[in-house]
Point group: C2
Amino acid sequence: MTTDNGQLDQFNDSFLRACAGERTTPVPVWFMRQAGRYMPEYQAVRGKHDFLTMCKRPELAAEVTIQPVDILGVDAAILFSDILIPLEAMGAGLSFQEGRGPVLSPPIRSRQQFQELHGIDPYEDLPFVMEAIRMLRKELEGRVPLIGFAGAPFTLASYLIEGGTTKSFVNIKRMAFEDPKLFHDLMSLITGVTIDYLTAQAEAGAQALQLFDTWAGVLGRADYEAFALPYAKRIVQALKQQNIPFIYFVFNGGHLIDLVKSAGADVMALDWRTDIAHATGHLGSDIVVQGNLDPAALFLPEDELRQRISRILQQGRGAKAHIFNLGHGIMPEIPVEKVKMAVDLAHQLSA
Amino acid sequence: MTTDNGQLDQFNDSFLRACAGERTTPVPVWFMRQAGRYMPEYQAVRGKHDFLTMCKRPELAAEVTIQPVDILGVDAAILFSDILIPLEAMGAGLSFQEGRGPVLSPPIRSRQQFQELHGIDPYEDLPFVMEAIRMLRKELEGRVPLIGFAGAPFTLASYLIEGGTTKSFVNIKRMAFEDPKLFHDLMSLITGVTIDYLTAQAEAGAQALQLFDTWAGVLGRADYEAFALPYAKRIVQALKQQNIPFIYFVFNGGHLIDLVKSAGADVMALDWRTDIAHATGHLGSDIVVQGNLDPAALFLPEDELRQRISRILQQGRGAKAHIFNLGHGIMPEIPVEKVKMAVDLAHQLSA
């Protein structure tokens, strides 16, 4: 794109360079759920359309994807979408109910229910995602890279099997333990879909990919190794031929970091419970880390917020490269000024 | 108590000896929520009374407390009650809604709301708890020890501030970060109540105490140290004069184990995500550990269940002493035969 005075904007590639292992000055910054409810400009769009419509209409998804780039000055855009979108294309019933979160109905708990699900052709079944990516690449050209994403198989399976969110994960674990064949068949199907989906995103123009394993942290080490890791690994491997950076995020996965590393992603994203210094202490300094401010820390007064960000940046210097982020998505209750302040502080303190 | 043939039953003190650091053969076994919905005998009582009534009528609480001792052959009884019971005595509105869990109304989010809360006299305000303990000591005499318990301050504060269960803990963290004075005042009040409550339980005859910090694991290390640990420590210290074993359980606290140890409890309880070998590797072998089978592992077929229990027992031999338990409460969906099987396996494999 061109600026008002006719010059070409310089492409801000600090995020991509950090993904590739370069220690950048300043560190790149983006936030999970940076396009979201905390932002009045997002609410203005959301007030007119329901959540799924926003995911499915490329011009709306593109509009809110760009908002944080304009308003916060982040160094990467992440496609506005939801990890559950491909499940609907697989034949699952998906709805979002106000105050209750996503509902998958009926939950998949039998071989017969599993057989109602099927693979997808992302271009055919989810054309709006690829269209949003193409639109965004045009609109973002000359500014920041665009990240695509998907949910990891264990996380998607947990929504399918539990029928929504859960605290106990009793049904997914029960299937894994009582009927491992069915569980693994379901995981294989989801894995194939996810590979196809992320490949299509890359082909449409996504410049990096993040795999969200929000719930794999409920597994002990042996179970993560048996029931979640092999599928994440398969996805990471399959996407290597796209030659774009791959970020793997296991939420609440501090007890799994060595296994998570073995998945082979370029970047390991950490939540706020796993100190970056702990990760580099255990895994060595040859890792690229992303994270990891507690999203609630954005409620802190400026002085304390600065101290926390400074500490995280300092720990990040012990890694091969560092991408500053939160340890989870921005909460709707956070004032947008504080989010902007965190972006600025992370830039200033690492300049 | 006397058996049918007139002999005194031998008091099974293996749990108390293990708490004191003795390596017992076999290891003692009890399960969190061993008196609970998975058991038909419990359901028979629950079918006639609501949950709070069961907590408040000593003869009902005593009846279901003893059920797992009779039916499972566990080595300790734990008082049937709920960690939220003292909050009601402090002036909070408490109800249990089917399918929604506990509701605390109104949530405590202002100084004014905090000032509606007050300390308790456990003998005056919660006489049914002490009465249940006295009844149980009589009924259990000659069999197994009785464990009393309370929720840890951070966990109780999270229910008070959030108004029930939560996934984000946004309100409690917001108060801690935006109004630390109010947060610490609330924590101090809860801590005093908890000390009084546990002291009364010990005086009434509880032979060990467990402090449940179900939600402190949502804190990063620095925040756990600032906002949760000092209060847990104060409780552990205050209860030392009762000269009974004290167990501290931080759920999902693998990233905090060294700090958790510093609270000074006699026994550290671990969930299934923190391998006992990891704990002894980091903290040394001079710890008494309790745990840590994934409750969902009770869905496994016998062979695999045996392997898992065997592995946990083997890791437990690396500690000073070991009490076998689950890493969280028994799920209602677990068949009672599998729970019994786990008790028997843990006994057999450590005999």
